[in-house]
């Protein structure tokens, strides 16, 4: 039988960010964005920094996550992220400032572009999450 809802739990080492029954989850997988509906086949996926969205009876929730993992079962999705912020918690001005700063930094020859790129992706995701959420 296909369950009607997915129990979504988003956790970071610091706190449980989000826990609710939802209809749909869209996550930034390492191999591309993917959506999960109730009854999805069990899956374990690596996540990259990006925007996670879920829809439910409460409307829509947008979150910015940095790298982590997601465990999917037919009735449950557990997102283990290094960091995660809900769109409403993000200070857009500061996030944009961070992005600018990192874009500057990545051009400098002495920095390790890989590390800066990861940080840049994380902050870009925050900006994107805020904009997506505001645009709704």
């Amino acid at each position: 039988m296909i369950p009607s809802k997915i129990h979504l739990e988003v956790v970071t080492p610091e706190r449980r960010v989000f826990e609710r029954d939802v209809d749909e989850v869209i996550l930034p997988g390492a191999l591309g964005m993917f959506g999960v509906l109730p009854g999805h086949a069990p899956m374990l996926s690596e996540l990259r920094a990006g925007v996670a969205t879920c829809h439910g009876s409460f409307g829509r929730e947008v979150m910015a996550i940095s790298a982590g993992f997601a465990e999917v079962t037919p009735e449950r999705v557990t997102v283990m992220a290094e960091t995660c912020e809900r769109a409403e918690e993000i200070d857009i001005a500061r996030a944009e400032a961070m992005v600018e700063e990192l874009e500057e930094e990545i051009r400098k020859p002495e920095t390790d572009p890989e590390i800066v790129r990861l940080r840049l992706m994380k902050h870009l995701a925050r900006v994107q999450a805020k904009r997506t959420s505001a645009g709704s």
Binding site: E9, V11, T12, P13, E14, R15, R16, G29, A30, L31, A41, P42, M43, L44, S45, E46, G68, F69, E71, T73, T78, M80, E82, T83
Partner: protein
């Protein structure tokens, strides 16, 4: 006589001041302990999810493929010692250093490198320059961060993969309760060692994950390395949280008993002072009375 009571009064005043200090420190520690405990509680759901994932992936992949699982003869080992930055917390720091030293001495024939967290360990080993210390980190406890823990764990991962070390162990004070700490020396690498510890916990928990066929993205071997590396970072983070909570608890208990001792001492000295005063009054009265009698 008058001199003596003045001396006593001065001592009482000084003890009272100290008691005020210890009481204030106790309150501060209690507040900090609550924060540290909240952080530990916050980490719990993540820990559970990550552990479940790890056990699941590990079961499904070929262990020979991950360099972190390599089992070599442990010739060079690393010990990370987590202490506090500050004292006045009973035997908290002394105990962990003592245990770390005992452990180090028990590693016969192995080369032991230390990584020290907290100023207290740094101070101790500065006076013993013949012991090899890789790195000291102080000031971590003000705000325990995942980033810092990840950076540290990653360093050891790379050392392990590069063959610079064959085993990494972590020594820290575990927060058992407000009045009790337990010193734990836990293996981090090779991962096989940690897995044994996990297995035992798993058996206690008796949660059979079932043999569902998962889809893995990317494939289990690649994922395994990543999950392990996240797990190591988390273990370090967790140890730091435990240690800070234990530190505040230890300080709270130490300051509590200090306050109690101070008030006992004040009572004793006050009693002594009153006795002295009484004695001097009595002598004076006797002097006056016998003087009057002599006149009469």
């Amino acid at each position: 006589m008058a001199n003596n009571t003045r001396e006593l009064r001065r001592r009482i005043r000084s003890i009272r001041n100290t008691a005020q200090l210890t009481r204030a420190m106790k309150m501060v520690s209690a507040a900090k302990l609550r924060r540290a405990q909240d952080a530990m509680m916050g980490a719990r759901p993540y820990a559970a999810a990550l552990k479940r994932t790890l056990v699941g992936v590990a079961r499904r992949s070929d262990p020979s493929l991950s360099p972190l699982l390599a089992q070599r003869e442990q010739k060079v080992v690393d010990l990370i010692v987590v202490t506090a930055d500050r004292g006045l917390c009973g035997s908290f720091n002394a105990n962990i250093i003592k245990r770390a030293e005992a452990w180090r001495e028990a590693q016969q024939g192995r080369e032991v490198h230390l990584t020290l967290l907290g100023r207290k360990a740094a101070d101790y080993y500065r006076r013993r320059p013949h012991i090899k210390v890789r790195e000291t980190i102080t000031g971590y406890a003000r705000e325990v961060s995942v980033q810092m823990a990840s950076a540290l764990a990653e360093k050891f991962e790379q050392r392990f993969i590069a063959g610079e070390t064959d085993g990494v162990y972590l020594a820290f004070n575990e927060f058992k309760s407000v009045i009790a700490q337990r010193i734990v020396i836990e293996p981090l690498l090779p991962f096989g060692e940690l897995e044994k510890v996990l297995d035992e916990q798993q058996r206690e928990g008796a949660e059979a994950t079932g043999h569902v066929d998962y889809i893995y993205e990317p494939e289990p071997q690649v994922l395994l390395a990543k999950v392990i590396s996240r797990f190591l970072a988390f273990e370090v983070y967790h140890a730091l949280l435990e240690s800070t909570a234990a530190e505040h608890a230890a300080r709270m208990t130490a300051m509590d008993s200090a306050s109690r001792n101070a008030s006992e001492l004040i009572d004793k000295l006050t009693l002594e002072m009153n006795r002295l005063r009484q004695a001097s009054i009595t002598t004076e009265i006797i002097e006056v009375v016998s003087g009057a009698q002599a006149l009469g």
